[in-house]
Symmetry: C2
Subunit: 138 residues, 2 copies
Amino acid sequence: MTPRDASSLAWDKMGGLIPAVVQHAWTGQVLMVGYMNAEALDATLESGFVTFYSRSKERIWRKGETSGNRLSLVSVQADCDGDALLIAARPEGPTCHLGTGSCFATEAGGIAWLDRLSGIVRERAAADAGESYTARLL
Amino acid sequence: MTPRDASSLAWDKMGGLIPAVVQHAWTGQVLMVGYMNAEALDATLESGFVTFYSRSKERIWRKGETSGNRLSLVSVQADCDGDALLIAARPEGPTCHLGTGSCFATEAGGIAWLDRLSGIVRERAAADAGESYTARLL
């Protein structure tokens, strides 16, 4: 994303802020959601480290500025209508202030995957036994 | 997530709305970002299909209600401070109104992965040759 692309985003929909979803560049895990204003996006692109506008601090906030747990930028993509950003990043430590890799991983590691596996098994169990090996097993 | 969990979310931070990131339950691809109010989250949990509050339509909007491209719910997780939701879903067709699987996949399929691969190669190339096979190759 270039500064020119950045200027065409839908900044007006939420008072100058756009939600930015940070995804681990290699694993695909969603790490956190923050907000960027145009200055934060510029700072992200220029510094190579994910930088937000903090609604609570009411200022530009480079993720990891205190903790050291920065998010090294890999890529920025806008969505189809320019009102959301998807950031691929390489985390330099736990992303969440609670010490977990993801702000969405408040359970002990791995539980989310168990949930997903359980979902797959439930889905397959309900499928036609002719089409699903799992359904035949159960 | 139970209705009880839902009531403890930080609904007040954005006038009753919370951003909801939808991630493909099996591949991890981020499909879209929408907004939920409490009614939309209840409808999502009750119906098993991802339901938003549409800011443009100013009403509850079940994703796919017109196109048929619904998002079958797998799980809902709140983040550490309860002001963002991560939805794992199984899409029943292209999620984006442009016909792509993801609203963030406006490039032709696969380009995002090339970007990532390119990022990995750049990173490894800059690493110490004693630690990186790629650095030794280049």
